[in-house]
């Protein structure tokens, strides 16, 4: 008989033991770690939002975690549950079983409410869902059927505009529901098409909306009630999640609250005024969720150990409660929450490059992501049968991980401050034999970081801008530039401010000279935007690759786009989602029918995979032509996507469609 509260230790093989996992065409690249350990997540969804850790049944030794997957490929949206399997010996990370999608009372994924939570109540599992300002839906979870059943609508007052809820059974047997509510200010302002979100002094025109914590106590879950302030409404900018902490959990009553920038704050329940402190680790360093849009849940082990879980648009992390400090609770640094049988995880909107990064002769994966970081997935297998560890290393500067973000000034406003959208190309820019990073990101700059190999790994230098005539080259945001050597000269292709594919030649390490736009047959510049779209965030986002896809001796274009793109001209193109209303894999091939010195491209064609559209998400796909898994040496495709997974596709499974094919289908 299992002793209650004792977590079975999951016995792993050596940390350095990897398995070669055959690539499956049209499927995500899986972890080569023992038992397929990988960051916990749900395939094909962007965010991993914890909605409560509970014991599904009173006798369970280990808790289970509910995850909300609201954004992503439609078939993947929903609520998932995963049971804790153990704690990894090597690093102390939590390891869960593979998440299982539950059946929910709302049926279609599109009907799923935005905010919900799960909690234990009198030995069972209850759930509240915010579906209107006047009511919450109470539901019960049946673990045997893996089904969420609606019980009733509960009338509430004072809920207002809600950005997240959580609930907990209090020690006195009542229930406290915690809700995040805005301060009534309006983050977005009205504006004309193409008008900046910032004024002439570069100040955001909308409000930097704050949020506060509201609470409601119910003695019976079916009772209605009123929410009241648990904190001032202006508690924190962009507040996105909060959870009630009871004295029995941490020895203090209060609220842990987190905002969309990942800042974690503590409010003592006895605070009468603004009182707030930052949650820190034992060294005094602030605890932060490393990605955008965090939510927070509690994990209460039967052994007595306490953790919090934070998730959002990035990996799920846990922090161990280490006691109460002078200014609030002290937690351990965030550690990645893992799962069994998982795929590689890049962070959302991965932009991969396949390259021998560490010089060991086999091709690794370098991948940028929406957090603004660059990950290194080492290949311990071969190019034909690679083995990528899911424990990716973050590429680092001398003093810490690379993390490039726009901050206050961002194309879509300051609340997107921690979305960096790193789009790296790997190229030996200074010709020293070590590949460097040429990149763009959400700031639309074109920059370089030099790499230097040391005994302990590769270190990147600080970024420096590429310039033309002394002015930094500014293009559209979130574009992966392509870099190639042509007849002894180095060229860079990026999207310029007009939304045109544009080529420059390298003059020296920071200077480029303009070579003009890339042209279609007939001389029209290639663009990727619709003629009617707001320039806003719709422009850009394209991932550019130069490679000889058809092996005819010159460089073609392999492009990844968002669904809203309209390639190659504004009046008619693909994928043109708003017009065509067709979902597809947003990866396109444009054949060079000129030559490398004077390129000229045919109209793009898209790819079917095994005769069908492969949906990977709408925000942007990041294709990378690569020879991994190729016995012939011909290019296959690796595609990064919004869910943070890397899909490998054998070129033999690819067929093409034209623009006409798609418009005929309309």
């Amino acid at each position: 008989m299992k002793k209650a509260g004792l977590i079975p230790l999951f016995l792993f093989l050596s940390l350095f033991s990897f398995a070669q996992v055959p690539l499956k065409s049209g499927k995500p690249v899986m972890s080569s770690d023992p038992n397929g350990i990988a960051p916990l997540g749900v395939l094909q969804t962007i965010a991993t939002v914890p909605a409560g850790a509970v014991y599904l049944k009173p006798g369970d030794a280990n808790p289970s975690l509910f995850l909300l997957a609201r954004v992503g490929v439609p078939s993947s949206r929903g609520v998932y549950v995963a049971t804790l399997n153990g704690v990894r010996k090597a690093g102390g990370e939590l390891v869960f079983d593979k998440p299982v999608k539950i059946k929910a009372y709302w049926g279609k994924p599109s009907k799923m409410p935005d905010y919900g939570c799960f909690f234990n109540y009198k030995g069972g599992v209850l759930s509240f869902w915010a579906e209107s300002k006047e009511s919450l839906t109470l539901a019960s979870y049946n673990p045997d059927e893996k089904q969420l059943v609606k019980i009733a609508s509960v009338k509430v007052e004072g809920l207002g505009g809600v950005y997240g809820i959580s609930a907990v059974e209090l020690e006195n047997g009542s229930i406290e529901i915690t809700a995040i509510a805005g301060d009534g200010s309006r983050y977005r302002t009205d504006r004309a098409q193409n008008e900046s979100w910032y004024d002439g002094a570069m100040i955001y025109k909308g409000a930097l909306s704050k949020g506060g914590v509201r609470k409601m106590t119910l003695t019976d879950p079916l009772e209605g009630g009123s929410f009241t302030e648990a904190s001032p409404a202006s508690f924190m900018i962009a507040l996105s999640g909060a959870v009630r902490i009871q004295d029995s959990f941490m020895g203090a009553d209060g609220y842990l609250a987190v905002n969309r920038f990942g800042v974690l704050g503590w409010r003592d329940a006895s605070s009468s005024r603004f009182g707030r402190s930052w949650v820190r680790d034992a060294s005094g360093k602030s605890i932060e969720y490393p990605a955008n849009g965090a939510s927070v849940s509690l994990l209460n082990f039967r052994s007595g150990e306490k953790r919090i879980l934070m998730g959002g648009e990035g990996k799920l992390v846990s922090c161990r409660f280490d006691g109460m400090g002078e200014n609030g609770p002290v937690f351990s640094d965030p550690s990645t929450v893992l799962m069994l049988g998982g795929a590689l995880y890049t962070g959302s909107l991965g932009v991969p490059e396949v390259v021998d990064w560490d010089g060991d002769g086999v091709q690794d994966i370098i991948c940028g992501n929406s957090e603004g970081r660059i990950l290194f997935f080492k290949n311990t297998g071969t190019d034909l049968v690679p083995a990528y560890s899911s424990f990716a290393e973050e590429l680092c500067w001398e003093d810490g991980p690379v993390c490039i973000r726009p901050g206050y000034i961002g194309v879509q406003g300051p609340f997107e401050a921690v979305w960096g959208y790193m789009c790296p190309s790997v190229f030996d820019w200074n010709a020293d034999g070590v590949p460097d990073i040429v990149f763009s990101d959400s700031r639309g700059k074109l920059e370089v970081m030099y790499a230097r190999r040391t005994a302990t790994g590769t270190i990147l230098g600080r970024p420096f801008a590429l310039r033309q005539d002394g002015l930094e080259i500014k293009g559209l945001w979130r574009v992966k530039p392509a870099v190639a050597e042509i007849a002894g000269r180095v060229c860079v292709v990026n999207m310029d401010g007009d939304g045109t594919f544009h080529r420059w030649w390298k003059v020296d390490e920071s200077t480029l000279v303009d070579d003009g736009p890339l042209l279609l047959r007939g001389g029209t510049p290639i663009t990727a935007h619709s003629g009617t779209a707001d320039r806003d965030g719709n422009f850009g986002r394209v991932k550019i690759n130069l490679c000889d896809w058809d092996a005819d001796g010159d460089l073609d274009l392999i492009l990844g786009t968002p669904m809203t793109s309209c390639l190659p001209r504004p009046d008619k193109g693909i994928p043109n989602g708003p017009v065509l209303k067709q979902l597809m894999m947003q990866v396109f091939y444009m054949e060079n029918v000129g030559n490398d010195e004077r390129p000229c491209f045919k109209d793009p064609v898209g790819f079917y995979v095994k005769g069908k559209d492969l949906l990977l998400g709408v925000h942007a796909n990041g294709p990378e032509p690569c020879t991994v898994g190729s016995a012939s040496g011909a290019y296959n495709l690796l595609v990064g996507c919004e869910s943070g997974r890397l899909f490998w596709i054998d070129r033999n499974d690819l067929a093409t469609f034209s623009i006409k094919d798609r418009y005929d289908k309309k």
């Binding site: 193409n194 900046s196 920038f261 020296d508 920071s510």
Partner: protein, 687 residues
């Protein structure tokens, strides 16, 4: 027998070696030289090395070298500088607005050219013109040329009268066939009476600014792309007979591409026989120098420095002037000038495989008995930066650089050395916004670094807290020691995880006040706002600062008539100015500022210009800072105007501080530091 490990032997030897050869002292011996007590109402002078300092012009911002002539018979010519903007002579301090002549004096041992102090040219016919000018020595005469309304005109220099006369010669040459607007030109005398005229013209008519129905709108669209025109330069050439003053050939487009350079500002003919280089050098606003060969239609290419990288003048540039040697037609020296101290580059006598000329330098042009010069719009803090017990000056400037003027004298009689450019992570600091900037991408070479010296991380040694034209507030930690400061990388300061962001070009006020580190800045509404540091990377909001009547303290006037770049620019400093035990605020402002109320405030609501430096007295306490209505400083009862763009005041214990209270140092847009003894200062109030 037990063997002694080799590392143990080495360790013993190391210790023995250290005993025999004492390690050099970690702290340098303080050196004190005789300084000069600063004169109230005067400019801090360079006092070391015969007052050797960058050639500068007191109260003017841009100083464009637009011509030369061998007038004094020395190996290098005398230089003509056009100084188009700044403050006229006032308060007993000469300005050099207009045209000036600087006479060559010699060289330093380091090979830097030394010139005499500028001498104004008395009469200039172009005083009210913004047309391009060039001064050329030809046929025994010194001629000034201008191009205006597609006509070339000239005037002759009278060296005795030091004047070009008050009107242009009535002979003019019509220059038809030029598309765009001539922005610069060069006149190259040839054999006989002929001269080549080469003209750099922009490819747009009118302004590069976007049309603005609403001046509060951004210059950028929603994709972050500039809405105005990115303009380029193209080159035309013609030949003129200077005896008949007729065109020998009409202007023709000669540049192989019509986009020689973005943001062009200057052109000059360059020739170097050793390498067979013959063509034109163009400079743009960002300081980039490009070369166009004379005899081919090839496109422009970047001129290179001795390291093989593009040659860049380090500040916002306005002119390029190749100088012919005294005998011959080669132009071994080239003067680069604009909003900074002029520099020269020297031909290296070689070219690259692509036939691009290579240059050495740039070197600063110096003058004797000069003033301390910090580049335009400096923002000083007076602090003991190097731990030698004497107050130095640390100043940011419009270039985005951070300068350290070491004090080799005493606090009462300082002797400041030439500026040392401070570094971050070993790289010279040069913080610029780049493409995305309040007033558009053509201001990319301005950084407007506004630093304050303060122990931000509480480790006992001074760091740098700063803002720039990016409008965000950051810090650089001093990772060295008190006596050997070494700045680390720039790091953001965050509020709830979002960058602390406000108006551009604001120096924050930072002080430890009542046990808390308080930082004041101008927020997004251009209102004075207080924050409290929680960690070196985070602050919490204390709200907008208040006047005694509970009103907020705004910095801008109500009606903006141009872009919102007028807002911000304030230089704040916490100091107990009146010695009553609590922290007050000093505020340096631009001319358009209206403290504390947009409809009525200082200095804008006054009809006379004055020192744009205000004092806001703390009328409550350090724990609860509440401010009185601002007062403007007068010097000996009168206004003291040192420039419109922004003043950078800092309280300092330099000079006579026997009463224990600080004096005032104020930087002007012309790059100089004006010293005011507090006994000469009175305050003016509008309320």
């Amino acid at each position: 027998m037990k063997r002694i490990p080799i590392y143990a032997i080495l360790a013993v030897l190391a210790v023995f070696s250290c005993e025999k050869t004492p390690a050099p002292s970690q702290e340098p011996e303080p050196v004190t030289v005789d300084g000069t007590a600063p004169q109230s109402g005067g400019i801090l002078a360079a006092t070391l090395d015969k007052g050797l300092a960058p050639l500068s012009f007191t109260k003017t911002i841009s100083n464009n070298c637009i011509g030369y002539a061998y007038l004094s018979g020395r190996e290098m010519p005398d230089l003509f500088f056009q100084c188009p903007n700044g403050v006229p002579t006032s308060n007993g301090i000469r300005s050099y607005l207009g045209l000036n002549l600087c006479e060559f004096q010699g060289w330093t041992s380091a090979g830097e050219p030394v010139y005499g102090a500028p001498v104004p040219v008395k009469e200039v016919p172009w005083a009210a013109s913004d047309s391009p000018l060039r001064i050329v020595q030809a046929g025994g005469r010194v001629l000034a040329f201008t191009i205006s309304s597609s006509k070339l005109r000239f005037a002759v220099y009278d060296s005795e009268a030091r004047s070009f006369g008050s009107s242009w010669d009535n002979v003019s040459i019509s220059l038809s066939g030029i598309t765009g607007s001539p922005i610069a030109f060069d006149m190259i005398p040839e054999a006989g009476s002929l001269a080549e005229l080469v003209i750099l013209a922009t490819d747009i008519e009118g302004s590069y600014r976007p049309s603005m129905d609403d001046v509060s709108e951004s210059f950028y669209d929603s994709a972050g792309i500039y809405r105005g025109q990115m303009y380029y330069g193209r080159i035309y050439r013609c030949t003129i007979d200077m005896s008949s003053w007729k065109l020998q050939s009409s202007p023709v487009l000669i540049s192989g591409d019509t986009r020689v350079t973005l943001a062009p500002v200057g052109i000059g003919a360059f020739k170097e026989s050793l390498s067979g280089t013959d063509g034109y050098l163009c400079i743009n606003k960002f300081g980039v120098v490009k070369y166009v060969p004379r005899r081919s239609s090839t496109v422009s290419d970047y001129a290179l420095d001795a390291y093989g990288t593009e040659l860049v003048n380090p500040f916002v540039s306005g002119a390029i002037l190749p100088i012919r040697s005294k005998s011959g037609t080669d132009t071994p020296w080239i003067v680069l000038s604009g909003e900074g101290a002029p520099r020269v580059i020297k031909s290296a006598g070689r070219k690259t495989f692509e036939s691009v000329p290579v240059f050495e330098g740039p070197y600063e042009i110096l003058m004797e008995n000069g003033d301390l010069y910090a580049g335009s719009l400096p923002v000083p803090t007076v602090a003991d930066w190097d731990g030698d017990g004497k107050l130095d000056i640390v100043a940011g400037n419009s270039e985005g650089r951070l300068l350290f003027f070491k004090n080799f004298g005493t606090n009462a009689a300082p002797a400041f050395g030439r500026a040392e450019y401070l570094k971050s992570e070993g790289e010279e600091i040069c913080y610029r916004a780049g493409y995305y900037e309040v007033q558009g991408p053509f201001e990319a070479a301005w950084g407007y670094l506004c630093p304050v010296v303060f122990d931000w991380d509480g480790d006992g040694i001074s760091d740098i807290v700063f803002s720039t034209n990016e409008g965000k507030f950051e810090f650089m930690r001093n990772e060295g020691t008190a006596t050997r400061p070494s700045l680390g990388r720039r790091q953001g300061i965050f509020l709830d995880g979002l960058e602390l962001y406000g108006m551009w070009r604001v120096r924050p006020a930072v002080a430890r006040i009542a046990g808390r580190v308080i930082i004041a800045m101008m927020d997004g509404e251009d209102a004075l706002h207080l924050y409290q540091q929680t960690t070196p990377k985070a602050v919490k909001d204390l709200g907008k600062a208040l006047l005694g009547d509970g009103k907020y303290i705004y910095g801008h006037r109500a009606s903006a008539t141009s872009s919102l770049g007028e807002r911000g620019r304030e230089k704040l400093e916490f100091v107990d100015w009146d010695g009553d035990g609590d922290y007050d605020l000093l505020v340096g402002t631009p001319l358009q500022a209206s403290f504390p109320d947009p409809s009525y405030g200082l200095p804008w609501s006054r009809t006379t210009r004055g020192l744009q430096t205000l004092w806001l007295e703390n009328v409550e306490s350090n724990e609860n800072m509440v401010f009185a209505y601002p007062k403007q400083f007068l010097f000996r009862g009168a206004d003291f105007h040192i420039g419109a763009h922004a003043n950078g005041p800092t309280a300092c214990m330099l000079g006579d501080t026997s009463d224990g209270k600080p004096n005032l140092l104020v930087s002007g847009e012309g790059g100089k530091f004006f010293f005011f003894d507090r006994s000469d200062l009175t305050e003016l109030s509008l309320w």
